[in-house]
Subunit: 663 residues, 2 copies
Amino acid sequence: MSESNLLVQTRASLPLDPTLITPLLHRPGVLDRRARIHTTLSKDPLFNKSVKAHLSYHQSQLRSLRIARALLNLKTSEKWSEEDWIEAIRQQDDPMGISLHQDAFVAVLKSQGSDAQWAHWKPLVEAGKVTGCYAQTELAHGSNVAGLETRATLFKDGKEWKFRVETPRTESVKWWIGGLGHLANHALVQAQLWIDGECKGPHLFVVPVRDIENHRPLPGVVVGNIGPKAYGGFSATDNGYLGLKDVTIPVDFMLSRYAGITPEGGYKAAKHSKLSYGSMVALRAGIPEAVGWVLAKGVTTAVRYCLVRRQFGGSMGPQGVLEGETAVVDYASVKFRLVPLLARTYATILTGRAFFDAYKAMLADLMKGETGGLGEIHTASTALKVCVTEDCVAGLEEARRACGGHGFSAHAGFGQWWANIVPSQTYEGDNYVLPQQITRHLLKTLAALHKNASHPLTPSTAYLRNITNRLWSSQRSPVITPSSWLKPEHQLAALQKRSVTLLLNLAAKLKAGKPWNAVTYDCHTLARAHAELYICTSFRSTVSALPDGQVKDFLTKLVNIHTLHTLVHSSLSDLLEAGYINPTQSRSLKEVYEKLVEGVTREEMVLGTDAFGFQDWELGVLGREDGGVYGGLWEEVRSEERGREAEEARQVWLSGRDGKAKL
Amino acid sequence: MSESNLLVQTRASLPLDPTLITPLLHRPGVLDRRARIHTTLSKDPLFNKSVKAHLSYHQSQLRSLRIARALLNLKTSEKWSEEDWIEAIRQQDDPMGISLHQDAFVAVLKSQGSDAQWAHWKPLVEAGKVTGCYAQTELAHGSNVAGLETRATLFKDGKEWKFRVETPRTESVKWWIGGLGHLANHALVQAQLWIDGECKGPHLFVVPVRDIENHRPLPGVVVGNIGPKAYGGFSATDNGYLGLKDVTIPVDFMLSRYAGITPEGGYKAAKHSKLSYGSMVALRAGIPEAVGWVLAKGVTTAVRYCLVRRQFGGSMGPQGVLEGETAVVDYASVKFRLVPLLARTYATILTGRAFFDAYKAMLADLMKGETGGLGEIHTASTALKVCVTEDCVAGLEEARRACGGHGFSAHAGFGQWWANIVPSQTYEGDNYVLPQQITRHLLKTLAALHKNASHPLTPSTAYLRNITNRLWSSQRSPVITPSSWLKPEHQLAALQKRSVTLLLNLAAKLKAGKPWNAVTYDCHTLARAHAELYICTSFRSTVSALPDGQVKDFLTKLVNIHTLHTLVHSSLSDLLEAGYINPTQSRSLKEVYEKLVEGVTREEMVLGTDAFGFQDWELGVLGREDGGVYGGLWEEVRSEERGREAEEARQVWLSGRDGKAKL
Ligand SMILES: Cc1cc2nc3c(=O)[nH]c(=O)nc-3n(C[C@H](O)[C@H](O)[C@H](O)COP(=O)(O)OP(=O)(O)OC[C@H]3O[C@@H](n4cnc5c(N)ncnc54)[C@H](O)[C@@H]3O)c2cc1C
Ligand SMILES: Cc1cc2nc3c(=O)[nH]c(=O)nc-3n(C[C@H](O)[C@H](O)[C@H](O)COP(=O)(O)OP(=O)(O)OC[C@H]3O[C@@H](n4cnc5c(N)ncnc54)[C@H](O)[C@@H]3O)c2cc1C
């Protein structure tokens, strides 16, 4: 067997069939659907991904429009279900205008519009006549939604009530709106509702922005594309801007499932202020699972490539070709980067999935008027979003770097994946703004517990009860022998201690008179600690619930690695400073962690990544299942198109040689 | 004064004139030269940077070639000095083929070629006839230079000695070679020298690859562009590949300042194996200062934008426009990100600069045959490279994120800067490979000290002498009152303790029988600790040497912030675990650090960033000196060209609406 096939060789001796793990990661039917849709799409060269890295921003925007159109047509001709349609969009591997149309415009219209409103828009949407976007952010306001300046003023036009919608100055022009740049003809606009000279706060309005027939901007509408983004990210999304001057819309274009306008032009407030919130966080609730899958691509690629890649330690063979070099995966410096990332990927996907199911259940309750679960879900969604986006973004880049020079090739895949998820740290709530909500919730709980030690707690905050224990501050970790660090209760107790300590420190700062704005950095630290505990707890409990056997044993190893990694890499100084662990315990913790990582075999790394179930078309050249990395890179550079480009470059370089004309 | 002018307002009350600091950062004459060259270049629209974000990879490659040609022509017509020429290249703000020609090909040719060889190539280079690249890395080998497979075999052709140069298999094809993709007609090829069936290891050969006149590949040469890179980075560099089959070159195309071939076809080894090394690390030695300046751009942009950007806390004014909002720079979550980054930028630039001067001095000594300084410079260059590239890359992305959504616009600037420096973690020695050399050096020093307590030490390793102190392991930080943490000796002693502890832990692992490959992750941790200490020490001593006064006071604040940040954010758990500090000291350390950061005023942030001396053309829209951020973003999206694109997009979107033809 040739040297480059250590990957194939390793795969031949897996301890376990990866397809026994796969169903734990994916929702039922997902992989079959994925394969079926892929078969359909692969018939049309339009969907060929290999061109993407060669396009300019504008070309990429046009390709995205062509794809959106083709998908809309296929939806009809292939009689796709909603799930099929969403899968077909996801398969493009890029956020696109049409994704926002589906996930933001349609979803919000459906959940925030009244039944009558949805009945009006549904056929137009389904016929592909109405395409939309979600327009909240303005040039000068994003995080501060209450401070939006776009306004919708109720007025009477003859016998009819209408809204005049406008963006009063350049700074209030809507900005960053995905799908608005080229694709949408309608926008769901967040605007301050003004009635009788009184501002009722932000509400949602359907505003037609382009003509349904000729797709030209409507009168009073200034609309366009905000242009290229950092790192080539979101290059298939037509983020746009929208200025409105004296635009008039009918009164029932204000979404009114919850709040509304009476026939007399009065304001009808929502019954529960929380009701509309539940469905608005749908996008955020889906982020952890989604970015976890992107990290999965990166980790799979890196593990495969690092089994194929060899460097150092060989000797020159008879053909002047090096033999017997070390596969780079066998260097601790590679293993100690990739193994924790593999564990993180499982932690993220499984926690993200469990969380999303809980979110769905809460939503169903909400529809029945039960708002009890909202606080828990809100805090969890916020904490998870912050922690998971940061860790997956950092992890993906770490996996890329583990691939050395070739990781920096666009053909490796990492570049585009990373560039597309990196802004998830900013949108759906900036990662330094959201933590303040989590902190407020935890502080409120703390205050309630101080008043009443048996104040009811939700699962994710149950650990706070500990502070009512008089001995709390003198508690020490009971770990004596290193192997005790493998006991779930000791691991979680340490993470709980850390989170509570950070919370109390923050509370003390406020008590000492620091203003809120002066502790917002600490809020972020606290939110991460809370989220890390949440993830370790949830990951552990998902795996504990599995039937005994090899799958459970393997995943338990990953749970331990992930949890100990969290302890070693994020919690150590907090725990030592709190006196919860002593230097000896700290050293034994590291020792146990290192042993665990060292003990993970190549076979287990392949098992863990093969179990994700990726096909070659979902990954870049470095992630090829057969390890044919070098052949793959070679193919990428040797096409006719590349030849034409080389010839053009030659002529450009020759021209102007004598200080004369440029081409 | 309008709200958006908090930046201008702040600038009006700076505690100090920034131009008093500027000369400490730049080498003499640099800013004047920069302005002069910029004036020349700004006459030609070819150099207009605003188009860059809109180009495809191929278009960007062509633009880079046109620029290279124009610069070569200007060099002659404007009678540029070498410094002018290098400045003109740098001003493009992108690594390009022509940069590699200058920094890698010309520089190595000059330093590794004999005087006679340089005399031969110099006129060809100066006439712009010969353009070159530095071709070391192969498809399957980068880090392992000794394992390169390209070979140059000495043979006799009639009466003349010649080399046959070849890449024996696909895996040995040269890859990633900057400037080779389109621009170079010569390559400096690292190849195994074979004489009489014996391999003498890698040597450098000038290999003509394209015809000087028609620029077509020469016989036996397969050459081309390796294509787009991750994140849109290096899009102006034509990284290329090179396959060689039976290519013959004259014997004196082997660079022979040090090693050479005798007239009889024998091998003449270099006198000192180290001699050639000194100049080969020139590129690496320049990295810290260079990436420090890129971080400076990011920090300047973020500080300026965060003074202009306001979010929350205002109230709706009479025009329906928000007033009195908090400038985001005033949130701790922003300040605690940006202030340490400002300090890091100064630490990096000043340390990088001092190091480069030391490197130059060592090189001069080396030319005189004094090799004594090499070890120190080698270890320092390696440690600095690893630490600084990681910290500046991470810092730049952190600065970008601090700008919220607009930080993700290509017009902000960050994207391209980051994409271009991120591979600095990989090239010129991968950041997990280099640390092993540092570790070996430190271990050797340790062993020598164990044998002989007065073994002579270099400045950067002098701190290791501490281990010869019998009381070493029981030493504790003497800090009692929090303010003692501001004493340089206490700060540096703690960093020294940490570095030594990590070194001893690593040595203990090896002693306990761990193989080298199993500690390579620890090598990286150790190298960082060593480098962090180096930077804090050097930064401190540069600033201490300044005359007393306001400038020194301001910079001393930055030194303290940088050093305490290093202690708090990278060293705390190590110090607590080592028992060097106790929990109380840990808390007081944090407290002092927080107070320092909180004490930095807006004015000082503007002072520190204005002192970098950037002009608007060097930064993106968010970094505008006048704070005209929103107007700038608005201008970017409203050109004729963007209008044409919108119209094209409209037609693409309309076409195929009825499931028919695509455009
Ligand atoms: C790729 C992408 C796609 C997007 N798509 C859409 C879309 O389809 N529709 C839409 O409506 N919007 C969209 N957005 C906008 C996005 O929702 C906002 O950018 C995001 O909410 C952040 O707000 P901001 O840009 O105003 O950041 P800002 O709030 O201005 O943040 C700037 C800085 O201030 C800090 N900060 C702000 N407030 C506080 C505070 N109270 N305390 C402490 N620190 C603070 C932040 O942490 C950050 O460091 C998109 C953005 C991106 C990048
Ligand atoms: C933008 C860019 C420009 C470049 N320009 C040039 C150029 O102009 N000329 C040129 O010749 N080359 C160039 N290169 C190539 C560059 O020098 C190599 O990519 C770099 O040296 C890393 O080597 P590698 O790619 O072989 O990585 P590898 O060594 O294969 O690294 C893969 C992984 O293995 C790990 N690893 C490897 N060896 C060890 C070990 N002994 N111990 C522990 N871990 C190990 C690494 O840390 C990494 O995680 C360029 C590369 C890039 C990305």
